[in-house]
Amino acid sequence: MVDGSSGAGTGKGGITRRRVTLGIVLAALASAFGSLFSLLKVLAPANKGGGYVANVGPGDRLVYADGDHSGNPLRASAFEVGDAVLAYPLGKTGNQANLVQLIRLQESEFQPPVRKELTDRGFVAYSAICTHLGCTVSWVKNPEAPGASYSECFCHNSIFDPRRGATVVGGPAPIPLAQIGVRVDAEGVLVFTGGFSGPIGPQV
């Protein structure tokens, strides 16, 4: 108290002008700051369809995701064993969640937990979005030992083995890349047979 002699401000428990004013000021501050909480909600919008929500459907054709052929359908004849490419379902290329890595391997190379019924003639496809922090995985081809090729995310070096269901064989990724069914149709073009077999994108 600045002025101790007045007694008005120091009375115990009594209602004083000073206390009422203080109460009003505190209530005003509390409501003012309280109203800011509604702002926090406004400033953090949730967009519909954000995050990784894939909309691949059975029968969707695969098209090249980047490079010179970007947007063209993938033909089985263009692939040799050991080749891989990034692909989108035709007409749904705007959604990054749909990005897959299509790899052609020897059929004999597949081991559990790969789901062989989702592969065709050695073609196998996995989500290309790393389950660590969402970068796109790349195919590291080993020309001398094709069996030693693997998928790697170049951001933090997570390594996935496509022969064994994209199991994590190195690095910080928490779970495997989700497999997605593909087959070669009558025209020799690759098409999806269904959706992803597990969660895709960063697991955070």
Binding site: L40, G50, H132, V137, C153, A173, P174
Partner: protein, 419 residues
């Protein structure tokens, strides 16, 4: 004439007496903070140029026949302007220089224990400045909207999301929705050119105000001079004219060096990175984020802890807990290493085995986590790197501590313990 007119109204004479005569103690390391400040000035000036020409939008526009985001196109167009590329590089190099200068300044203050009473407040403000500066650098990453920008920002987005319980909300608040959202670039642009610089300016002002109020710390030599000559005033040079000349010379020297680097050393070549694309090539962040980047590579993927409805993932450990722990450690420093008497002279780091060896160990640890960012080119497994990292840090820590203890013991015998 004009001076007299202004002086009669603003009393500049008084101001001159009070502030321009302030003493600056002289020591080469006292200029590190100034370098940071001058780098910031350079950033503001070059930022004005870039901000006037930049378009913070993700809408697709045509650039040389290809459809690219407008933000990317506008930065490519800046690069094509006369001096445009150089200004952008000066901006980027100055940002790196600013962070480097702040870190060196921090190291100087730490190792000479200049954070001790009465300067704890300025230590905390300084840490705030470091954090905000890194925030400024980070919000600048996204703006060119290249493939590099998108990847770096997307990683940060998922790191924010990995915060237990409130991660989703934090991520949406920072990135204005679920990244990549069209609203993220405008949000980052505003943060980068308005909110973060405003914070920086306020904190810099506060930092300097506290410095002026508390008086500058002095080199150890000044104590001896004072004991010999008497007097209580600071020993050094006045703000005007000596210190101003030194500072001005430093500013132009810095500007010269940065401009030369900007001219000859390519940096953030967005034309090479290209606009956003589906594939992610090998890319590393700027050097000051490399410790976090490297640490993220070392945390094993199956390390996931569920607590009270939240989840601590490898991303949380590498991207949130690790830098958070470092920050808390720095905040705690002046409260762990306390003194009862105010300390107004630099302390020789060699005389403080515990704090100096600890500081060296942390610096070494950060260098090693930076190295961990290169395990892919060094062909080291994360586990091996982690073991080397921990062992080597402990060895450095103990080694430095024992060496300093030994040095002080032998030195005391010769010097009769005079410090």
């Amino acid at each position: 004439m004009i001076f007299k007119w202004i002086d009669e109204r603003l009393e500049l004479g008084k101001f001159k007496e009070k502030f321009l005569g302030k003493t600056f103690p002289t020591h080469p390391t006292f200029l590190l903070g100034e370098v940071a400040l001058f780098a910031f000035v350079t950033l503001v000036i070059t930022g004005l140029f870039l901000g006037l020409l930049y378009e913070p939008s993700a809408r697709e526009v045509s650039l040389f026949g290809a459809m690219v985001p407008a933000a990317y196109a506008s930065v490519v167009n800046i690069d094509l302007l006369p001096l445009g590329l150089i200004v952008r590089r000066i901006h980027h190099w100055s940002a790196m220089l600013m962070i480097a200068a702040i870190l060196c300044h921090l190291a100087r203050v730490y190792f000479t224990s200049a954070y001790r009473k009465p300067r704890e407040i300025n230590w905390l403000i300084g840490l705030g400045l470091l954090g905000v500066t890194m925030g400024a650098a980070f919000t600048g990453y996204l703006l060119p909207y290249s493939q590099f920008s998108l990847t770096a920002t997307s990683i940060a987005y998922y790191i924010s999301r990995s915060v237990p319980w409130i991660g989703d909300w934090i991520a949406r608040l920072l990135f204005a929705g679920d990244f990549p959202a069209a609203s993220t670039v405008p949000r980052f642009f505003f943060l980068h050119v308005m909110l973060v610089p405003a914070l920086l300016v306020s904190l810099v002002g506060l930092h300097l105000l506290v410095l002026v109020k508390q008086k500058h710390i002095e080199p150890e030599g000044n104590r001896l001079r004072r004991e010999a000559e008497g007097g209580r005033r600071l020993i050094g040079i006045p703000v005007w004219p000596e210190q101003s000349v030194v500072s001005l010379a430093l500013f132009f020297f810095m500007l010269g060096v940065v401009t030369m680097m900007a001219t000859y050393i390519p940096l953030n070549p967005i034309e090479t990175y290209g606009p956003p694309s589906p594939s992610t090539p090998v890319m590393r962040p700027d050097w000051y984020f490399l410790p976090i980047y490297g640490f993220l590579k070392l945390v094993p993927g199956d390390l996931s802890i569920a607590i009270a409805g939240g989840r601590i993932t490898p991303e949380t450990i590498g991207g949130v807990l690790f830098p958070g722990f470092l920050g808390l450690l720095l905040i705690a420093v002046p409260f762990l290493d306390r003194v009862s008497m105010s300390q107004n002279y630099l302390v020789n780091p060699l005389r403080r085995p515990v704090m100096t060896s600890l500081g060296l160990a942390v610096v070494f640890f950060l260098c090693m986590t930076t190295t961990a960012g290169y395990i892919d080119v060094l062909h080291i497994t994360p586990a091996a790197m982690a073991i080397v990292l921990v062992l080597a840090t402990v060895v450095i820590w103990l080694g430095a501590y024992l060496l300093l203890r030994f040095h002080n013991r032998t030195d005391k015998r010769g010097n009769h313990g005079k410090t």
